[in-house]
């Protein structure tokens, strides 16, 4: 579904991403892990076109999306949720989801209908149900709990009906219980929608529990990939990541 061929990116001479290749199978759920500063978010930014790629190519299906504009890439089927919640503080959950739905279909150029009675209401309902936001449907985003804000961020991405969903630390800033709830929900989402999911996560228990394939990033380069079982036994990973101690 998503194919990344040897992409590199440097900032002021420092290689933030070094010859990274990732291939995601359709309908798979995958994790991108690595220590702080390994360049995980940078890879998301490169995929979504937020920053430009120096070298290498990115494909979604058969389409080359390398260095296209962020808005164009989004329309080609990639959506993301952010590490630091990135929502619209004064809009309600319902309004926010409707905005995302309309953005997908260029419906925001419409000046002749009323937003409040616009026909996407039903679709927005479904997305909210899917994301588990129905109980706070009419709440203003800035008044949501941290967990619900995270969910709204994901719901915005879901509204785009992406082929590939990128989740940047969906459990960041949550307590252990909340984390598992969130991850259960993500797993459910993935099962229901059959999207291809790539998520960044620090909690190894979570990663090993739900990811089919794990990519391990260190200093901008992929040092290992494989199933949870393979990664657990990978010497390089143990040394770099799990083993701790020497760096």
């Amino acid at each position: 579904m998503l194919k990344i061929h040897g992409i590199s990116k440097s900032f002021g001479g420092i290689n933030a991403t070094n010859n990274v290749s990732i291939e995601l199978k359709p309908n798979s759920i995958n994790a991108l892990i690595g220590p702080n500063g390994a360049g995980k978010t940078t890879i998301f930014n490169l995929i979504t076109g937020k920053i430009s790629v120096d070298k290498g190519k990115i494909f979604i299906g058969e389409n080359n999306i390398t260095n296209l504009k962020e808005t164009v890439i989004t329309h080609m089927g990639i959506a993301r949720a952010f590490q630091i919640t990135n929502i619209f503080p004064t809009l309600s959950v319902k309004e926010s989801i409707k905005m995302a739905l309309l953005a997908k279909t260029h419906g925001l150029n419409n000046m002749w209908d009323r937003f409040a009675s616009h026909s996407v209401n039903e679709e927005a309902d479904n997305i909210a149900k899917l994301a588990g936001l129905k109980k706070v449907y009419n709440t203003i985003s800035s008044e949501l709990s941290h967990g619900d804000q995270k969910l709204l961020d994901i719901a915005l991405a879901l509204a785009l009906k992406p082929q590939v969903l990128l989740l940047d630390e969906p459990t960041a800033g949550m307590g252990p219980e909340e984390r598992w709830e969130m991850i259960k929900r993500i797993k459910e989402l993935w099962q229901k929608t059959k999207m291809t999911v790539l998520f960044i996560e620090h909690d190894m228990d979570i990663v090993f529990d739900i990811a089919q394939t794990i990519f391990v990033l260190q200093q901008g380069a992929i040092i290992a990939k494989g199933s949870p079982k393979e990664i657990k036994q990978n010497q390089a990973v143990i040394k770099a990541y799990l083993g701790g101690g020497k760096k």
């Binding site: 329309h75 619209f88 409707k98 905005m99 309309l102 997908k104 009323r114």
Partner: protein
């Protein structure tokens, strides 16, 4: 009357007609030229402030050169009606003059907007200010055309059209308020449309929309152009009222006026700016009748709003009595 509770276009048109008819009746109930003048001005300045509030309240862009479009509309209308074209167009002159005024300010807003929206925050504000002052300087420099610092003098004809003679106080009053109410209804539609919610989205979080496949810049530009064209319409009505146009209308202090109105009335309620225009005009009328020191009083009022109420009057009322 259940449909009054629904927020839709039909209701707005209905309310608009009701308000218009009421104000026409009011003209005869209270036959005071001074009060009629205030009401006209409230609508003209209200349009000006509401157009700016598209950018400030809904888009979150502090435009500080909005008077450029007001002046462009005023001068276009004035120059048009002073020209010989009036003899050819005859009774069509005024409608075409107003349309030309809107057209010129729209084109100007497209040009200035396309450049300004690339900048953010204070830099955007400063660039709009610089453009406005550039236009002010051009108006002053083109003495042969604009009359320089004297303004567009000598008046101009106002040929009657469709049985409306703008030379008559009632016709002018009815016409100005009618045009203003139509514009306000259209503006309401714009603000409550998906397009209008796109503006709020950019205001709330300019980073996120791109990741939803949404083009901020184009949206901002369209809003800027619409705001400029409405300011141009307001300017042309003001020029019709004063039978002239003055360079002060392009000076930066003129851009501060709609900011006051937005502050006084409220930027988060649709009708806030026009309420602000009302407060502004009443203040103007009351204070200048009693003291020469208008600035002092206005300054103190603004200060108390900024530090005391911290929001416009209509915003405050709505929060207090409606959205508990």
């Amino acid at each position: 009357m259940g449909f009054l509770k629904q927020d839709n276009f039909k209701r707005d048109v209905f309310l608009g007609i009701v308000v218009w008819l009421f104000l026409l009746l009011f003209f005869f109930i209270v036959p005071s030229a001074g009060i009629h003048d205030i009401i006209q001005k409230v609508f003209i300045l209200g349009l000006f402030a509401m157009s700016l509030n598209i950018l400030i309240g809904y888009l979150g862009l502090i435009a500080f050169g909005h008077a450029a479009f007001f002046a462009a509309g005023a001068y276009t209308l004035g120059l048009f009606l002073q020209s010989n074209v009036v003899n050819i167009l005859g009774s069509l002159s005024i409608p075409i003059a107003i349309i030309s005024a809107i057209f010129v300010s729209t084109v100007l807003a497209a040009f200035i907007g396309a450049i300004c929206i690339r900048l953010k925050d204070i830099y955007f504000s400063f660039l709009t200010l610089a453009f406005q002052m550039l236009i002010y300087s051009i108006i002053l420099a083109l003495v042969n055309i604009t009359g320089g610092d004297q303004g567009l003098m000598g008046g101009f004809p106002k040929p009657p059209f469709l049985g409306i003679d703008l030379g008559k106080p009632f016709d002018f009053y009815a016409f100005t308020i009618f045009i203003s109410i139509i514009t306000i209804i259209l503006l309401r539609q714009l603000i409550e449309s998906p397009f209008g919610y796109g503006l709020r989205m950019i205001r709330d979080n300019p980073e996120r929309p791109a990741a939803l496949g949404f083009n901020n810049q184009r949206h901002k530009l369209i809003a800027f152009i619409i705001a400029g064209s409405i300011a141009g319409l307001a300017g042309s009505l003001q020029a019709l009222l004063d039978v002239g146009a003055y360079p002060e209308w392009a000076f930066w202090a003129k851009s501060a006026e709609p900011l006051f109105m937005i502050l006084l009335g409220g930027m988060h309620s649709f009708l806030g700016p026009i309420m602000g225009a009302f407060i502004f005009e009443m203040l103007n009328d009351f204070v200048t009748a009693n003291t020469r020191y208008y600035g002092l009083v206005l300054g103190l009022v603004i200060l108390s709003f900024v530090l005391g109420l911290r929001r416009g009057l209509l915003d405050w009322l709505l929060i207090k009595f409606y959205r508990k």
